[in-house]
Symmetry: C2
Subunit: 328 residues, 2 copies
């Protein structure tokens, strides 16, 4: 009988999660019924949203998350053996699914990535990619020549947002936490400027780098960073609020409200699954841009399923550049 390794969400996170907040267990995998398939994890995702949403969950359940898995047994012709699927299966090595249960979003067979690796199914050609694509283009509605600021710019989502903004003819300023990340953003990804929030004064830098003001802000971070960007925004500026990671491990991120009134800003929060019906449109476009050389990506890969907690904690500390992935 096949066994699955599973990481349980074992203790409520307080502050930065600890490895001891998780518990590794083994489960027997049941025999397949008609319509079901068995998938073996290939690449598992660790993302900031997991920290934010876990606090609302009971402990003792498998930790939440998406993965790219390979179908190794199937009684469902839509999910043939050998195909790669994306599913919100949680932190587990083996999953029985029927492809019909919607958990955040439906399980789907990855479209043909051509020569690109299947790991991108949890990255630039999956949820983070579509988060950047729809969350930025739909909510910020960037126009040619506008100035765009991205926080968490070297992360899985931020690094794609900045590149899409460049494709759309915008001036792009990324905010991140190390010189190494900044170098990658400017030298390799084509960002116009980089602000190191750990060593530089964001407000003074924005005044200098965006003298005409900021039109669009894609916010992954929240809190004081967002306050400082808002002070430099133009009237009718648009903010796409993707996350607020600065508050996930401590006091919740707060923002000063009055600039929203005074500058008549439009602030919109989102969860990418609202564009579930346009999912493949995003993946096709992103894939096309990669093949045209307009879009680059980097993965920070951790080896071994048993290292999921470590990879997750490291990502929350900003240890990754681009997408943090665990190779099972």
């Amino acid at each position: 009988m096949v066994k699955s390794k599973v990481f349980l969400y074992n203790k409520k996170f307080e502050g930065l999660p600890k490895e001891s907040d998780f518990k590794l267990v083994e489960e027997n995998v049941p025999a397949l019924k008609d319509g079901e398939f068995l998938a073996e994890a290939a690449y598992l995702s660790v993302d900031p949203y997991m920290r934010a949403y876990a606090v609302g969950l009971p402990t003792g359940i498998p930790m939440i998350g998406g993965q790219v898995a390979k179908v190794i047994e199937s009684k469902n012709s839509k999910f043939p053996v050998g195909s790669y699927v994306h599913g919100q299966f949680g932190w587990r090595t083996h999953t029985v699914d029927n492809g019909a249960t919607v958990n955040m979003m439906p399980t789907y067979v990855l479209p043909d990535f051509g020569s690109l690796p299947p790991s991108l199914g949890v990255g630039i050609l999956g949820m983070p990619g579509n988060t950047a694509y729809f969350g930025f283009l739909e909510l910020c509605q960037p126009k040619d020549g506008e100035t765009v600021v991205v926080s968490g710019a070297a992360g899985a989502v931020g690094s794609i947002v900045g590149q899409i903004a460049k494709i759309k003819g915008c001036k792009v300023i990324g905010i991140a936490g190390s010189e190494e990340k900044g170098k990658w953003l400017v030298d390799e990804l084509g960002f116009d400027h980089f602000i190191n929030y750990k060593t530089q004064d964001i407000e003074a830098m924005l005044k200098k780098l965006a003298p005409k003001g900021v039109d669009c802000y894609f916010d992954n971070v929240g809190g004081e960073t967002t306050d400082k960007v808002m002070l430099n925004m133009n009237t009718f500026g648009r903010i796409s609020m993707c996350g607020a990671i600065s508050g996930y491990n401590g006091a919740p991120a707060k923002i000063v409200q009055f600039p929203i009134v005074q500058k008549q800003l439009k602030v919109e929060g989102f969860i990418v699954t609202r564009w579930a019906d346009r999912w493949m449109e995003g993946i096709e476009q992103l894939s096309k841009w990669i093949k045209e050389g307009k879009l680059k990506y980097r993965e920070t890969v951790t080896d071994g399923f048993e290292n999921m907690p470590k990879a997750f904690i490291d990502m929350l500390k900003g240890g990754n550049t681009g997408k943090a992935v665990v190779k099972a």
Copy 2:
């Protein structure tokens, strides 16, 4: 020679403004040139926005504000003697204007109010009325049967927003600071419910009064009140952010950011002058609703120009019900 009394903004506001922050002076009014007219203040407005915007102004200038004034001398045929005009003339009894200078918005002759008093030109048939009309309808896009929450509900703007929401078929919950105000909202204006933020738990009350969740929130107050409303909002809820008076006299109002992401809220700040080109549309509709008995108003009138600071401070403390006005 005509003299004008003028209140100067004399000391930077710190905390709640004091009467000694203002200085009453007299100025000579110059003779009219061609194209100019002389207007004598009839009703002056005191509004929360003045507190918020004054902090960005230099001291020593006339305090900012709008008024309804009567033209008493004119060399401009568009502003004939005897007509009432609305202008952002500041806190002064006599003003020479040419009707062409735009200060926040152009000076205009009040449209025919019929039997309604000209004081409404600084109230329900002026800036506060249009703030409610456009700020609520355009940004919240309320739908029949939805649940609407208004903070600062017994104020000049909030009391109109709630009534417009009722006209549009919504369930309306007002948040204000006294039982007397609440009684007025429910018994006279037709609000469905009232929450006294000074004596009741907003969150628990909303759970009870809005069991299907809140769809639209018109925010005059900000800070903790807004946090509590957001926790009870439905996915894709809309927030029209008109002001944040809770922070005007002390630490700036802050809001917790994550519910905006998690509930995918659309938050939009505004200044009513963005609808300057549709100004008369708002006034006509509001006037029609008053005449049809669908819209009620109340004014808290202070007598005497010299009492402007007192009226202003009293309004900031929540002493008014409906529109706070000073009769010159």
